[in-house]
C-alpha cells in the first residue's frame, strides 16, 4: 500500500517549493492512490497555508506566493480533469474583495485575494480606491456570499462602515458577510461597525472565510 501521508507531504512540499512542474508531478503521482478532495485539502491547501506562513515570516516573498498559487491552481485543474462531470470541486463561496475609496494601498488586499482563490473561493478583486457603491454592485452582480474590505489608513477606515451601511440600506446585509482588514482595523473596530469578522493577515482571512461560509 502506498504511503498516503508521504504522498500528501510530497504535494504540500511541492507547493512550498513554488515549482509548478514539481506540483503537477506530485499530484499526478498522488491521484492514483488518494481521492482528489483529499489531495486538494491535505496536500495542495496545506502547502499553500505554509506558503502564507513563510511569507508572513519574511522567508518567502510575493513572487513566490504568486507562483505557488498558480501552481496550486494548475494542480486542482489536473485533479478535476479526471473527475466525472458534476463532481468537480465546488467553490466554497463567492467573495468580492477591494480597498475602500480614498485608499490606494493594494498589496495586502491582493495577497488576500491570491490566497483565497487557491483555497477554493471564487474571488472578484475589484482593486483599490473603490467607491463604496461598487462593492455592493459587484456583490449583487456576482451573487457574492462575502465582501472583503481593506483600509490602510485611519482616515479611510470609515469606508468599511459605509459598505455595511449600504448593504443594510439595500436589504442585503443578512445575506452577505463582511470581512474587514488593514493595519488600523482591529477586532474591536469590526465589532463596533458590525462586521462579521476581522482578519489580521492573509492566512487568517482564509481561515475566517472558511469558518463563516462553510
Amino acid at each position: 500500500m502506498a504511503d498516503i501521508e508521504g504522498l500528501l507531504h510530497e504535494v504540500a512540499d511541492a507547493v512550498i517549493s513554488c515549482k509548478k512542474e514539481k506540483v503537477l508531478e506530485a499530484v499526478e503521482k498522488a491521484k492514483a492512490e488518494i481521492p482528489p478532495e483529499e489531495i486538494i485539502e491535505k496536500g495542495l491547501s496545506a502547502g499553500m497555508n505554509q506558503v502564507g506562513v513563510l511569507f508572513e515570516r519574511g522567508k518567502l516573498f510575493l513572487p513566490h506566493v504568486m507562483i505557488a498559487a498558480d501552481a496550486m491552481t494548475a494542480g486542482v485543474k489536473l485533479l478535476e480533469e479526471g473527475m466525472p462531470a458534476g463532481t468537480q470541486e465546488k467553490k466554497l463561496g463567492v467573495i468580492v474583495n477591494g480597498t475602500v475609496e480614498g485608499d490606494v494601498h493594494d498589496i495586502g488586499k491582493s495577497i488576500v485575494s491570491t490566497m483565497l482563490q487557491p483555497a477554493g473561493f471564487e474571488v472578484h478583486d475589484i482593486g483599490r480606491d473603490v467607491p463604496i457603491r461598487s462593492f455592493v454592485e459587484k456583490a449583487k452582480e456576482t451573487d457574492a456570499d462575502m465582501i472583503g474590505t481593506s483600509a490602510l489608513m485611519t482616515t479611510t477606515l470609515q469606508g468599511q462602515r459605509e459598505v455595511i451601511e449600504l448593504l443594510k440600506e439595500e436589504g442585503l446585509r443578512s445575506r452577505i458577510k463582511v470581512m474587514v482588514g488593514g493595519a488600523p482595523a482591529t477586532q474591536a473596530w469590526a465589532d463596533k461597525i458590525g462586521a462579521d469578522c476581522y482578519a489580521e493577515n492573509a492566512s487568517e482571512a482564509v481561515a475566517k472565510a472558511k469558518e463563516l461560509l462553510l
Partner: protein, 355 residues
C-alpha cells in the same frame, strides 16, 4: 485586588492592566520579535525596567539626566501646515517659518526642508524653487538643515509613472516582467534622487534624509542604497540619513541583492549594516505597531528589534517614533503618555543614538 495601570492598545484605546499582565505582555512581545528576527529576547532586567517605565505614575515621563539624545524630524514642515487629514495641525505658515519654529521653539536638533508632495520624483520639475527655499532657510537658521523626501518608488509605476505596475503584472502571473519593471523603476529612482540632491547640496543643504525607504519593497531599497552610494562618493562630507518604511523589507521582487545580501525579508538589525555600507551616516530603523495588541506587547517587541539593530549598526541609529511605529499607538496625534514612555524605553533599554 491588584493595582491596575492605565495603558493603551495599539489603536490608542485606553486599557488597564495589572503588573502581572504587563510582564506577561512584555515577555510575549519580546518573544515575538526574537522569534521573527532570530535575535535575543530582552533580559530579565530589561523586562523589569520596561515594566517600571510603563507603570510610572506621571502622564508624561522622561529620560534620566545625562541620557538625552538628539531629536531629528522628518515630513518637512507638513506637521505644521498640513491640513488634509494627515499628521499636520493646519497652521498656515511658510516653510521658512515652519523650519525656524522647529529650531527655535520645538528644540529640534536637526531639521529638514521638504516639498508638499514629499517624494523625490515630483521635486524634479520644481527643484529650482526648492533650491531657493533651501538657501533662504539656511540664511536664517543655525541647526543642520537637511533636504527630506521619500524615495516612493511607486510613483514610477502606472498610472503615476512610465513603468508597468508590478502589482498588475503579478496578478497576471507575469513575474519576470514585474521584476523587470521594478528594476527599471529602481534605476530611475537612483538617477532622479542623485540629480535632485546634487542641486540641493549646491544650494547649501547640510544633508539628505531618505524617509520611508523600501515603502515599495526591496527594489525601492535597492534604488535608495545605490543613490546613497553615489551621493557619498560625490559628496564625502554630507550627512545622509536613511530611514525605513517598515520593520521588514517587503519582497516584491524577491531576488535583488546589495553587497551580496538579499534585500527581501531583512529585519532592522540586518538593514542597518547595509545602510552603513552604502555610506549613510545615520540609520532610522522602524518597528510597526500592531493595533490589536497592547502597548506593553508592542513596545517590548519594538525595543527588542531596535536593540538588536543598534548593536549591529556601525552608524548611529535614530529610531522612528510616531503614529503607528516604535511601540506608539496608531493615532494621528499620538498620546503623550505612550510617546514619552516609548521614547524613554528606546533610549534607556534599546540604547538608540537619537529619535
Amino acid at each position: 485586588m491588584a493595582a491596575e495601570y492605565a495603558l493603551r492598545m495599539g489603536d490608542g484605546k485606553r486599557i488597564y492592566l495589572t503588573e502581572e499582565k504587563i510582564l506577561s505582555e512584555i515577555e510575549a512581545g519580546s518573544g515575538n520579535a526574537a522569534d521573527l528576527g532570530e535575535i535575543p529576547d530582552l533580559s530579565v532586567d530589561e523586562i523589569d525596567k520596561l515594566a517600571q517605565i510603563l507603570m510610572m505614575p506621571g502622564k508624561a515621563v522622561s529620560v534620566e539626566h545625562g541620557m538625552e539624545v538628539p531629536v531629528t524630524h522628518d515630513i518637512g514642515t507638513i506637521r505644521l501646515d498640513g491640513d488634509q487629514g494627515n499628521s499636520g495641525v493646519g497652521i498656515p505658515s511658510s516653510r521658512l517659518v515652519g523650519c525656524m519654529m522647529h529650531e527655535r521653539a520645538f528644540g529640534a536638533d536637526t531639521m529638514e526642508l521638504g516639498h508638499i508632495d514629499y517624494s523625490f520624483k515630483p521635486v524634479k520639475p520644481v527643484v529650482a524653487n526648492e533650491c531657493q527655499a533651501m538657501e533662504v532657510c539656511q540664511q536664517n537658521m543655525i541647526i543642520p538643515l537637511f533636504y527630506g523626501a521619500m524615495p516612493n518608488m511607486g510613483l514610477y509605476y502606472t498610472p503615476d509613472g512610465p513603468f508597468e505596475n508590478p502589482g498588475d503584472l503579478m496578478k497576471m502571473f507575469k513575474i519576470d516582467k514585474a521584476r523587470e519593471s521594478m528594476e527599471h523603476a529602481a534605476e530611475h529612482l537612483t538617477r532622479d534622487t542623485v540629480w535632485v540632491m546634487q542641486k540641493l547640496f549646491a544650494s547649501g543643504a547640510d544633508g539628505v534624509n531618505f524617509d520611508t525607504t523600501a515603502a515599495a519593497g526591496d527594489a525601492d531599497m535597492y534604488g535608495t542604497l545605490c543613490a546613497v552610494e553615489i551621493l557619498r562618493t560625490q559628496f564625502p562630507d554630507m550627512y545622509i540619513e536613511m530611514g525605513m518604511a517598515g520593520e521588514m523589507v517587503l519582497g516584491m521582487h524577491g531576488e535583488l541583492e546589495y553587497d551580496g545580501v538579499r534585500l527581501a525579508g531583512l529585519w532592522p538589525h540586518e538593514q542597518a549594516p547595509l545602510a552603513a555600507q552604502a555610506g549613510a551616516n545615520v540609520f532610522g530603523p522602524v518597528v510597526n505597531t500592531n493595533t490589536s495588541k497592547t502597548s506593553p506587547w508592542n513596545l517590548a517587541r519594538a525595543v527588542t528589534f531596535i536593540k538588536a539593530a543598534v548593536e549591529a549598526s556601525s552608524i548611529p541609529c535614530h529610531v522612528n517614533m510616531g503614529m503607528g511605529v516604535g511601540g506608539i499607538p496608531m493615532l494621528e496625534t499620538p498620546p503623550v503618555d505612550a510617546v514619552t514612555r516609548a521614547s524613554k524605553a528606546m533610549v534607556e533599554i534599546a540604547g538608540v543614538d537619537g529619535i
